[in-house]
Structure formats: C-alpha cells, structure tokens
C-alpha cells in the first residue's frame, strides 16, 4: 500500500485549511455587505417616512380643512397653524404646532386654557416655522431625522384669521 509522505499530507491539509479560510472570509463579506445594505435601506426609508409623513400631514390638514379660515399664531415651541371652525354656534380651533420634539395637533374650543403638551403627538419634528403671505403659506420644518424641509402651500380662500 502506497502512503503519502508527511510533507505532501501537510500541503494537502494546508490547502484545505486555506480554502476553508477563503470560504469563511467570503461568507463574512457577504454578511457584512448584506447588513450594510439593510442598514442603509432602513435609515433611508426612515428618513423618507419622517419627511413625507410630516409634510403631507400639514398639506392634507390644509386641504381637508372644512373651513377656509386658516391663520398663524404662536403656540408650543414656535409657530402654530390654526384652523377655525364654527360647530353648532361654538368656535373650535384645530392647532398644528411643534412641542417637545413632536408635531402635535390640538382640537379645542376657542378661549380654552390649554397647554401645548395637551395636544396629540403626530410625528417627531423639532421645529416648525411658517409664514403666511397673500394666501401662500411657506413652511419650514425640521423632521425627526433632523432634515430641514421647506415647501409652500397655496391656501384657497384664505381669510388670514386664526387665533
């Protein structure tokens, strides 16, 4: 029976070991690439969600408002968008503002003693600045991911009212 020499066996074993090492490195590389791709996807999706939801929430609020009486006031951490509506002879205000790192909404009767913290938290946002001029509302929003979004909304039938 022919036997392999010890050096030949060692080379064969070493080759197997090296191939296994290369295999392990390949697995690790694919795993790392996959993890990185997944991380970048989730970060980007979270950013998109924060920006899209915050901006579209305000735009939809303006578009869906039953009353054209829209105005600006100061409430919470800065500017506040106010929708005034008359319900059964009583005036109610819907306020959209930023407070404690959240975009909030507060629906309450006019003149009521409410705090910014009483509002319903909608989505994380650190700042909301608005300017209403000639029916054009300029909005500058810093979303929960720290991205600044600036956009304009044309308010149809705006009366310049508010609280």
């Amino acid at each position: 029976m022919k036997k392999n020499s010890p050096s030949k066996r060692n080379i064969g074993g070493l080759a197997t070991l090296l191939t296994f090492g290369a295999f392990a490195v390949c697995i690790l590389s694919v795993l790392l690439v996959g993890a990185r791709a997944y991380k970048s996807l989730t970060v980007r999706d979270r950013q998109s969600f924060a920006a899209r939801t915050a901006s579209q929430y305000i735009i939809t609020k303006l578009r869906q408002s039953p009353s054209p009486d829209v105005g600006l006031t100061s409430f919470g951490d800065g500017d506040c968008l106010v929708f005034k509506e008359d319900i059964e002879g009583r005036v109610y205000l819907t306020r959209v503002y930023c407070s404690d790192g959240w975009l909030c909404e507060l629906f309450a009767e006019e003149g009521g003693d409410f705090l910014p913290s009483d509002g319903e938290k909608v989505i994380e946002a650190s700042s909301l600045d608005m300017e209403l001029k000639g029916g054009l509302l300029r909005i500058s929003l810093i979303d929960g991911e720290g991205r600044e979004l600036s956009f304009c909304v044309n308010i149809r039938g705006e009366k310049g009212g508010g609280a």
Binding site: T19, S48, N154
Partner: protein, 150 residues
C-alpha cells in the same frame, strides 16, 4: 490509510462554487434594493418640491419670476416637449438641486422645470412641472392649471 485531504478539498471547492452562486444572487438583490430605495427617496423629495413649485405657480397665478425667486431657481427659455407644446414667447422655470435637495445654481444632481403650456380654454393657464435626475431620468411629472384672473 489514504489521506482524506483531496476529498475534503474537492468538497470545499464545490461548496465555494455553490456559495459564490448564491452570494452573487444575494449581492445583486442587495444592490437592486439599495438603488430602488434611493430612487424612492428621491421620488419622495421630487414630489414635495414639484408640489411646492405647483403651489407657488397657482398662488401667484403663473408668476414664474416669483416662483424662481422663492425656489432659488432661474428663468430660462421654454423647452419643447414631445407631446405638449409650450406657450409661445414665455419663459420657463428652472431650479437646480444638489444631492441634499438644497437649491443652488451650480448644483446638478436634480433639476426641476416648469414649462408653460398653451391651453384652449380662455383664462386657463397650465404648466408642465417635471423633476429629472442628473442622468435625465424623470422622477415625477405632472400638469398644473390655474385660472388667470383679469
């Protein structure tokens, strides 16, 4: 006793070949997902900026200079589209954005254009708003119309 090393080596090589095939498919899926996610994020921002431009044009009743000033863009000669004819002797709006979606005249990552269109309805004005990326691919495009008050 015969050494098992060559057999183990062949097993490993076959395993690596199968793994390489699976890895190639996985990497392709990762790259596709990454590109798709980036394209979706860009489309979201493009929609927001295009919507803002449309609101500005509607609010100002087609004052392209005002919209250009507000958005940080410039006025340029109207470009002819394939299907829609631009209104004669009117300027169009062009806004350039960087990859961070900040408008700048030197930026070239994205371009927003608003081209006035001719309408057959008296008193009605229209514009074609489009956002393209650096390669020229269209991210969003729509027509906006408003009533011009005398």
């Amino acid at each position: 006793m015969r050494s098992r090393s060559p057999l183990a080596l062949i097993e490993l090589l076959i395993m690596i070949m199968i793994f390489a095939l699976a890895a190639a498919l996985c990497l392709r899926a990762f790259v596709w997902a990454d590109l798709k996610s980036a394209s979706n994020a860009d489309a979201d921002m493009a929609a927001l900026h295009a919507q803002s431009a449309a609101e500005l044009l509607k609010g100002s009743e087609g004052d392209y200079s005002f919209a250009a000033m507000e958005l940080g863009g410039v006025l340029s000669a109207a470009q002819h589209g394939d299907k829609l004819a631009p209104a004669a002797e009117q300027e169009s709006l062009l806004v350039r954005y960087g990859s961070d979606w900040k408008s700048s005249p030197e930026a070239d990552a994205f371009t927003l254009s608003a081209v006035p269109l001719e309408t057959s309805v008296p008193g009605l004005e229209s514009a074609l708003i489009a956002v393209n990326d650096a390669s020229g691919a269209e991210l969003i495009s729509f027509t906006v119309s408003w009533q011009k008050e005398d």
